[in-house]
């Protein structure tokens, strides 16, 4: 489903988080990307929806080589990939409902379908009762769950999560990870970048450890 071949990423100024990385994630798999901060976990995830372009090597998503993807097709690639961020990336002047609805609004979905899907997604992450609230009134863990609801509301085949348990206590972290596991169990290819080693070990899925820009 996701294949990285000899991928290197070098930023202007000399910082080089990835140096010849080979990664293959099977369809329907759940994989953890681990490694110290600065090991290139976020960069790896950002290559998949083409938020970044590799300096060298190839990225293939569902058989399509992203280097050959025309610019105007990028939005459609991103619609098939749900992604959550450590800093949530929510719109603070919109309610939870509107935040989660955004990916459906972009696709021009009919109102009834939009309403049904948003409510289902918010229900799934346990925030249906707060759908009219604004993100600032929520805790960090709740905001992360809003981000997850937004990522899965279109039922994408791929789900990426960048440090989803960043600042959460162990119990909340486990709750969030269980959510991702549930999505994976219905066939969503899931890649989670995290440095919470004990939690990851406890869950027992395949791990890709990044060190000095390579898979160790």
């Amino acid at each position: 489903m996701i294949r990285l071949e000899g991928v290197g990423k070098r930023y202007p100024g000399g910082n080089e988080p990835l140096r010849g990385l080979d990664v293959h994630v099977e369809r329907g798999e759940l994989v953890f990307i681990t490694g110290a901060s600065g090991a290139g976990k976020s960069t790896l995830l950002r290559l998949i929806p083409r938020l970044e372009r590799p300096s060298r090597g190839q990225v293939l998503v569902d058989g399509a080589n992203l280097a050959r993807l025309p610019h105007r097709r990028i939005p459609y690639l991103r619609r098939r990939i749900g992604m959550t961020f450590q800093d949530h990336r929510l719109l603070h002047d919109r309610t939870l409902f509107d935040n989660v609805a955004l990916p459906l609004v972009i696709e021009g979905r009919p109102h009834a379908e939009l309403r049904r899907r948003v409510q289902a997604a918010l229900d799934k992450v346990g925030l249906l009762a707060q759908s009219g609230a604004y993100p600032v009134t929520l805790s960090g863990g709740e905001q992360q769950r809003v981000g997850i609801a937004r990522a899965i509301v279109t039922r994408p085949p791929i789900l990426l999560a960048d440090e989803p348990t960043g600042n959460l206590d162990p119990a909340l972290s486990m709750e969030i990870m269980q959510l991702f596991r549930q999505f994976n169990q219905v066939g969503v290819t899931t890649v989670i970048a995290s440095h919470d080693q004990p939690l990851i070990d406890a869950l027992g899925h395949r791990q890709i450890h990044l060190s000095e820009g390579r898979a160790a």
Partner: protein
């Protein structure tokens, strides 16, 4: 997906953009009203010029438009010949119509206008000559007018000839100048409207930076992100056009009465008219088009630069 489903989706995306841009305007209404007012004033000025030139045109066409020649006949001419001479002058291709003013008619008119009737009464006979007023064909070149003048002067019955073409030529030049000035003013102020919107939209885009970034992040197309900004430009432009129409109507209403009094003094029944419904609609349309144009420039310049961090 079927054509009708695609059309429905397209309509839905546009409705969303139109409504969400209206919502943005409502949230920042004082700024929006000021922008629309600036656009309105910038549009009202050239529109006022156009209306003024149209009115000038109407007022002048009431005076006959084409130049005319006054042919003064020798006082020795036999009165029985007046009509025949007038008709023969009228036969020329360069002459559209002729009107004969006999010495008696001329005297009566002089008496009516007053002032000189007393000295005239002292004379034992009418000193005024007969005059044939010839309206020249419109669009006559100066060479043709010259040829006609020479022909008329050659006639033995003609004592003197006056052609008011100099005055008409000056007037035509003034109108041409007015039209040209209107075009220049319209161009400059149209450019002003585009620049005002460009700047408004630039700030608007900056204010929505985070939203644009997140929308790109989750797969919003360039068209989707651009659309509400283009609608913002459209709404501002349409509102500006409407304000311009209102300003113009008020201005014409204020000017109408003194203008009519002036026209009456010149013996004309001329009444000034405003832009009318068609004029106002075209003003609003122009505002809308310039609005979208300015927004498009701002979007092309500033929106593409925003990528998710």
């Amino acid at each position: 997906m079927s054509i009708s489903a695609l059309a429905k989706r397209w309509a839905k995306l546009h409705a969303h953009a139109a409504i969400s841009s209206l919502g943005r305007l409502r949230r920042r209404w004082p700024g929006s009203v000021m922008t629309a007012a600036a656009i309105g004033i910038a549009l009202a000025l050239p529109a006022a010029f156009v209306v003024a030139m149209d009115n000038l045109d109407t007022a002048l066409s009431g005076w006959g438009g084409a130049p005319q020649a006054s042919v003064f006949l020798e006082t020795t001419t036999d009165p029985g010949q007046y009509s025949a001479i007038a008709a023969s002058i009228g036969d020329s291709d360069a002459v559209r119509a002729v009107r004969l003013i006999t010495p008696e008619q001329a005297l009566a008119e002089y008496r009516r206008s007053g002032g000189v009737s007393e000295p005239l009464a002292l004379l034992d006979r009418n000193p005024l000559p007969a005059v044939v007023v010839a309206k020249l064909s419109p669009g006559l070149g100066s060479a043709a007018v010259e040829r006609l003048a020479a022909q008329l002067r050659d006639r033995p019955a003609v004592a003197e000839l006056r052609i008011d073409r100099d005055w008409m030529a000056r007037l035509a030049a003034i109108i041409e100048l007015g039209n040209r000035a209107t075009a220049v003013v319209a161009l400059l102020l149209g450019l002003t409207v585009v620049l005002v919107l460009f700047n408004t939209l630039r700030l608007d885009i900056e204010n929505h930076r985070r939203e644009i970034e997140i929308t790109r992040l989750i797969g919003g197309t360039h068209a989707f992100i651009r659309r509400p900004f283009l609608y913002t430009g459209l709404w501002h432009g349409l509102a500006g056009g409407l304000i311009a129409g209102i300003l113009l109507s008020v201005a014409v209403a204020l000017i109408a009465e003194p203008a009519q009094r002036l026209a009456t003094l010149y013996g004309s029944g001329f009444q000034p008219v405003g832009a009318g419904l068609a004029g106002t609609l075209s003003l609003i349309t122009t505002g809308g088009l310039l609005g979208v144009g300015g927004a498009w420039l701002a979007v092309a310049r500033h929106l593409v630069a925003i990528e998710p961090p």
